[in-house]
C-alpha cells in the first residue's frame, strides 16, 4: 500500500496516546480512590477511541470510525456512568489495603511492562501504526490482570477487567490493519456491556447479602 503523505504523524500520534494510556494504567494501579479510578478509566478509553479515530482517518477506513464512536459512547460515557451510580449506591469511596503496596506495585508493573515489550518485540515489523503500540497493549493486559488480584474491592476488580479489555482492543487496532471485521467489533462491544451490567447486578446482590464489597470475604467455598 502507499501510505498517505502525513503517514508519519499518524504513528507518532498513536504512539503518544498509547503511551498515555499506559501512564493512566499505572496511575490506576497505585491510587486508591474509587471515583478517581473510574474517571481515569474513562480517560483511558477516550484515548483508545482517539487512536481508533486516528487509524480511521489516516488509513481512511470508514468503519473504524464506528469503532471509535462505539468506544466513546460505551466506554467513555455509559460504563463510567454506570459504575459511578453503583459507587454512589454503595457509598464507599476508598479501596482497602491492596496486596502489594504502592512502591511494590510500581515495581511489578515495571517488570510487566518489560515482559510486554519482550513479547511484542518480534512483531514490531508487523505493526504498521506506531512502534510500541502492541507492546503497550500487552502491557495493559498484563498490568490490568495484575491489578485484578492486587485489589480487593469487587468494583476495582471490574475496573481492572475493563482495562484488560482496553488493552485487547488496543492490540486489535495496533496489530490488524483497520481493526477486526465490524461484526466482531459489535459482538465484542455488546458482550462487554452485558458483562458489566451483569457484574453490576452481582455486585449489588453481593452487597445486599454480605453488606460488603470486599471480595476477600468471599472465601466460604474451599477444598
Amino acid at each position: 500500500m502507499n501510505p498517505p503523505p502525513s503517514a508519519d504523524i499518524g504513528p507518532q500520534l498513536i504512539t503518544l496516546m498509547a503511551a498515555l494510556m499506559l501512564v493512566l494504567q499505572l496511575l490506576l494501579a497505585v491510587q486508591p480512590m474509587l471515583f478517581t479510578s473510574v474517571r481515569l478509566y474513562a480517560i483511558q478509553s477516550l484515548f483508545l477511541a482517539g487512536i481508533a479515530g486516528v487509524v480511521a482517518f489516516f488509513d481512511n477506513a470508514s468503519h473504524v470510525y464506528v469503532v471509535a464512536v462505539l468506544t466513546v459512547i460505551g466506554k467513555v460515557i455509559f460504563l463510567p456512568w454506570l459504575l459511578n451510580r453503583q459507587l454512589r449506591r454503595i457509598k464507599i469511596a476508598q479501596e482497602v489495603e491492596p496486596l502489594f503496596n504502592a512502591p511494590a506495585t510500581i515495581m511489578v508493573c515495571g517488570g510487566l511492562t518489560l515482559l510486554g515489550y519482550l513479547v511484542a518485540r518480534p512483531f514490531t515489523s508487523l505493526e504498521r501504526l506506531g512502534n510500541n503500540t502492541l507492546a503497550i497493549a500487552i502491557t495493559l493486559v498484563l498490568t490490568g490482570f495484575f491489578l485484578m488480584f492486587n485489589r480487593r474491592k469487587a468494583l476495582t476488580q471490574v475496573l481492572a477487567l475493563l482495562t484488560v479489555e482496553n488493552g485487547v482492543m488496543l492490540a486489535a487496532i495496533a496489530l490488524t490493519t483497520y481493526g477486526m471485521p465490524l461484526v466482531v467489533e459489535f459482538g465484542i462491544f455488546f458482550d462487554v456491556l452485558v458483562a458489566v451490567m451483569i457484574l453490576g447486578i452481582l455486585i449489588y446482590r453481593i452487597r445486599e447479602t454480605f453488606a460488603s464489597m470486599d471480595t476477600s470475604k468471599l472465601n466460604q467455598l474451599k477444598g
Binding site: 515482559l115 513479547v119 498484563l142 490482570f145 495484575f146 488480584f149 468471599l218 472465601n219
Partner: protein, 702 residues
C-alpha cells in the same frame, strides 16, 4: 456323549442372562425369584459342565470352536469367545461349582426372605457366573478385561450385599480398590503385549489383541530369548511378567497382596464366599497360567524362582494366619491364601522345568498345580458351604460360641469333616493326590539342574510339609471346636440341620472330593489336552498305571500310590478289630457316662478347650511373626487373690496390614490434605495461579 460343545455353551451363557433378568423381573416375589434365578443358574451351570466335559474328553487336538458374540464398534475390541483346553478346564471348575452352589443357594437364600431382596442376590449371582465364564472363554484381551471388570463389579455388589454393616462396606471397598489396582497392572501388561503384536503384525488391528497373536508373539519372544537377540523385547517381556504377576496375584490373593481376601470373604453371603474362594480367586490362577505358559514364551529362570518362592511364602503365611483365627469364615479365607500358594508352587516349578528344558516334568508340575486348583475349588467351596450352614443355624461366625454341632447337624458335620480331611491333604481324598504330585515334581526337580537354585525344590517341599501339618492342626481345631464337645452358646445348643437343597449342594462337592481322590486317572486324562497345549506333552499314560487305579510317578520306579487300593485295604483290615472283638469283647458292655471332671460338679462349656487356647502353642512358637499382645484387667474387692472379674484380651498383628498398607494409606491422605490448601477459597489466589501460568507460558514461547 457326542454333543458339540458350542450349543451347550451358548445355552449356558444365555441361561445366566435369563436367570439374571428373570430374577430382577420377579424381584417383588421373593420365593419365585429365588427358585427361578438359582434354578436357571444351576441348569446353565450343568450345560456348561457338559460342554467342558465333552470338549475335554474329546482329547487333544479337538477342534477349537470360536465365535463372535456381539458385533463391536470400538477399534481393537471383538467379543470373540473361544473354547480351548485351558479355558475348558476352568470352565469345568466354574460350572461344577456353579451347579453345586446354585443348588445350595436355593435353600440358603430362604434365610434372606423378608430381610433382603433375594431377586437382586440371584441376579448378581447369575451375572457373576456369566462374567467368570466369559473370563475363561474370552479370546480378545480387550474383551477379557471387560469380562474381568464386570466380574469384579458384580463380586463387589455381592460382597456388600449385606451393606447395613460398616464392616461389610469397608471390606467391599477394599476388595474393589485392590482388584482395580490389579486390573490396572493387567491393562498395562496386555498393552505391552499389544504393542509387541502390533509391531509384529505391522498394524494395530483387533487381531493385535487376540490371544492367537499373543501366542505367536510368545514364540517370537522365546526365539529371541534363545538366540539372545532383541533385548528390548525381552525387557518388555520381563516387565509384562511382573505386571501380570501383580495383577493376577491380587485377584489370586498371593502374599502380600492378599489383604482384601480375609476381609471380603467372611462378610459376603456364604454361597458367594464359596464361589469367590472356589472360582473367583482361581481366575487369577487362570490368568497366570494363560499368560506364563501361553503368551510369554520360554521363561527365564528367575520367573519360576519368583513364582515358586511367592507360592511357598503364601502357603506358609496363609496357614499360620489361619491358625490364629477363630472366625470360621476368616479362617477359611486365610486357607485360600495357603492353597493358592500350593498351586503356585506347582506352576513355579513347572516354569523352572520349562526353562531347563524338561517338558515332561514341566507337565507334571503343571498338572500338579491345576489338579490342586480344581481340588481347592471343590473342597474350599464345600467348607464354605458348610460354614454357611453353620452360620445359618447358629447366627454367628465365632467358633468360640459353637460346639456340639456334630450331634445336631449330622450331615453338615460329615460333609465338613470330609472337606477338612481333604484340605489337610490326608489320604485317601483329593487334597493328598495333588500334593503328592507336587511333592513328586519338586523331588525330581532337584536333579534337573546343577545350579544352586535347585535347593529351592526340597526346601519348598519341606515348607509344603509344614503347611500340610499346620493345615491339619488348623482343621482339627476348626472341626473340633465347631462340631465336637458341648455347645458353647444358646444358639449352638438350638442349632438345626440345614435344609435339603443346602445338603444336596454340599453332597455334590463331597462326592467330587471323594471321586477326585479315588479316581485321579479321569482328571489326568482330561488334563492331557491342556498340557498338550501348554507344554506340548501328554503324560496321563505315564502317570497312571494298572489302568488308572494306581498313580505313578513319571520316572521309572519313581514311586506309586493308589488311594483306591489303600481305601479298600483299610476296609479289608477292619476285619482285624472285628476278629478281636469276637475273640474277647463279645461280653463287654458299653454305657454312656459323664466326662471325667476331676470330681467337680459336672463339666460346663466354660471348661472346654477354646480355639484360642488350641492354637496357643503355635502362637508362642511363631511369636516373632505374630507379635501377640495380651491385656489382662482384673478387678478385686480387698485382695488380688479374690478376683471378682477378669478381662483377658489377646491380639495378633497382621504384619502387612500394620507395616505396609496403613502407613501407605496415611501418606496418601496426608498429601491430599496438603494439596487441598491450593483451593483456599480466595479469588486473588486463583487469579494469581492463572497469572503465573500466563507469564510462564509467555516466557516459554519467547
Amino acid at each position: 456323549m457326542n454333543i458339540q460343545p458350542f450349543p451347550l455353551l451358548e445355552i449356558s451363557l444365555c441361561g445366566y442372562v435369563i436367570g439374571a433378568v428373570g430374577a430382577l423381573v420377579f424381584m417383588r416375589r421373593e420365593k419365585l425369584a429365588n427358585v427361578f434365578s438359582f434354578g436357571v443358574a444351576s441348569l446353565s451351570a450343568l450345560a456348561g459342565l457338559l460342554a467342558a466335559l465333552d470338549f475335554l474328553s474329546a482329547g487333544p487336538g479337538a477342534a477349537v470352536p470360536k465365535i463372535d458374540l456381539l458385533p463391536s464398534s470400538i477399534p481393537y475390541l471383538q467379543f470373540t469367545v473361544r473354547l480351548d483346553p485351558l479355558g475348558a478346564f476352568f470352565l469345568l471348575i466354574v460350572s461344577l461349582l456353579g451347579l453345586a452352589i446354585s443348588i445350595y443357594s436355593l435353600g440358603y437364600a430362604r434365610g434372606f426372605y423378608g430381610r433382603k431382596n433375594v431377586g437382586v442376590l440371584g441376579a448378581f449371582f447369575n451375572l457373576l457366573l456369566l462374567a467368570t465364564t466369559a473370563v475363561f472363554l474370552a479370546d480378545n484381551a480387550f474383551f477379557f478385561l471387560i469380562a474381568w471388570e464386570i466380574m469384579a463389579l458384580t463380586a463387589y455388589c455381592l460382597v456388600s450385599f449385606e451393606h447395613e454393616k460398616v464392616e461389610t462396606r469397608n471390606a467391599g471397598v477394599l476388595f474393589f480398590i485392590m482388584s482395580h489396582i490389579g486390573t490396572g497392572c493387567l491393562i498395562l501388561g496386555f498393552l505391552l503385549l499389544f504393542q509387541g503384536t502390533g509391531k509384529m503384525l505391522g498394524d494395530y488391528s483387533p487381531q493385535a489383541y487376540s490371544f492367537e497373536s499373543f501366542h505367536a508373539l510368545g514364540e517370537k519372544m522365546s526365539a529371541a530369548f534363545q538366540n539372545h537377540t532383541d533385548p528390548d523385547l525381552l525387557l518388555r517381556r520381563d516387565i509384562a511378567f511382573l505386571l501380570f504377576l501383580v495383577g493376577f496375584g491380587v485377584k489370586a490373593g498371593i502374599v502380600p497382596l492378599h489383604i482384601w481376601l480375609p476381609a471380603a470373604h467372611p462378610v459376603a453371603p456364604s454361597n458367594v464366599s464359596a464361589f469367590m474362594s472356589g472360582v473367583l480367586i482361581k481366575t487369577g490362577i487362570y490368568g497366570l497360567t494363560r499368560v506364563l505358559f501361553d503368551f510369554l514364551g520360554t521363561p527365564p529362570n528367575w520367573w519360576g524362582v519368583t513364582v515358586l518362592s511367592i507360592g511357598t511364602i503364601s502357603a506358609v503365611l496363609g496357614v499360620l494366619y489361619a491358625l490364629m483365627e477363630h472366625d470360621l469364615k476368616r479362617l477359611l479365607a486365610y486357607h485360600s491364601i495357603e492353597n493358592i500358594g500350593i498351586i503356585l508352587m506347582g506352576l513355579g516349578a513347572s516354569l523352572m522345568f520349562l526353562h531347563s528344558g524338561h517338558p515332561v516334568l514341566a507337565s507334571l508340575a503343571l498338572i500338579a498345580g491345576l489338579y490342586h486348583t480344581i481340588n481347592h475349588a471343590v473342597f474350599k467351596a464345600l467348607l464354605f458351604l458348610g460354614a454357611g450352614a453353620v452360620l445359618h443355624a447358629t447366627h454367628t461366625r465365632n467358633m468360640e460360641e459353637m460346639g456340639g454341632l456334630a450331634k445336631r447337624m449330622r450331615w453338615t458335620a460329615l460333609f465338613f469333616l470330609v472337606g477338612a480331611v481333604a484340605i489337610s491333604a490326608l489320604p485317601p481324598l483329593n487334597g493328598f493326590v495333588s500334593e503328592w504330585l507336587t511333592y513328586q515334581s519338586l523331588l525330581q526337580g532337584f536333579g534337573t539342574t546343577t545350579s544352586l537354585v535347585r535347593i529351592m525344590f526340597p526346601i519348598s517341599g519341606a515348607m509344603l510339609a509344614l503347611t500340610g501339618a499346620l493345615a491339619a492342626a488348623c482343621f482339627v481345631k476348626a472341626f473340633g471346636i465347631t462340631f465336637l464337645a458341648q455347645p458353647r452358646s444358646e444358639h449352638a445348643a438350638h442349632a438345626h440341620e440345614a435344609s435339603f437343597t443346602m445338603l444336596l449342594g454340599q453332597g455334590i462337592l463331597t462326592a467330587a472330593c471323594v471321586f477326585l481322590g479315588l479316581f485321579p486317572a479321569f482328571l489326568l486324562k482330561w488334563l492331557d489336552p491342556v498340557t498338550q497345549q501348554l507344554s506340548g506333552q501328554q503324560i496321563s499314560a505315564q502317570l497312571s498305571a494298572a489302568n488308572g487305579l494306581i498313580l505313578s510317578n513319571t520316572a521309572a520306579q519313581g514311586g506309586t500310590v493308589s488311594m483306591l487300593g489303600l481305601a479298600l485295604l483299610a476296609l479289608a483290615l477292619l476285619a482285624a478289630p472285628l476278629v478281636l472283638w469276637l475273640l474277647f469283647a463279645t461280653r463287654a458292655k458299653t454305657r454312656r457316662g459323664p466326662t471325667w471332671d476331676c470330681g467337680l460338679r459336672g463339666l460346663t462349656p466354660q471348661m472346654e478347650y477354646t480355639a484360642t487356647g488350641f492354637s496357643k502353642p503355635i502362637r508362642m512358637i511363631f511369636k516373632a511373626l505374630f507379635r501377640p499382645r495380651r491385656e489382662v484387667q482384673r478387678e478385686y474387692d480387698f485382695s488380688p487373690y479374690f478376683t471378682t472379674t477378669l478381662r483377658f484380651e489377646s491380639h495378633v498383628e497382621e504384619v502387612f496390614q500394620t507395616r505396609i498398607y496403613r502407613p501407605l494409606n496415611r501418606l496418601v491422605l496426608g498429601v491430599s490434605r496438603r494439596l487441598r490448601a491450593l483451593q483456599a477459597g480466595s479469588i486473588q489466589a486463583y487469579l494469581i495461579y492463572i497469572f503465573i501460568t500466563l507469564v510462564l507460558l509467555l516466557l516459554f514461547a519467547l
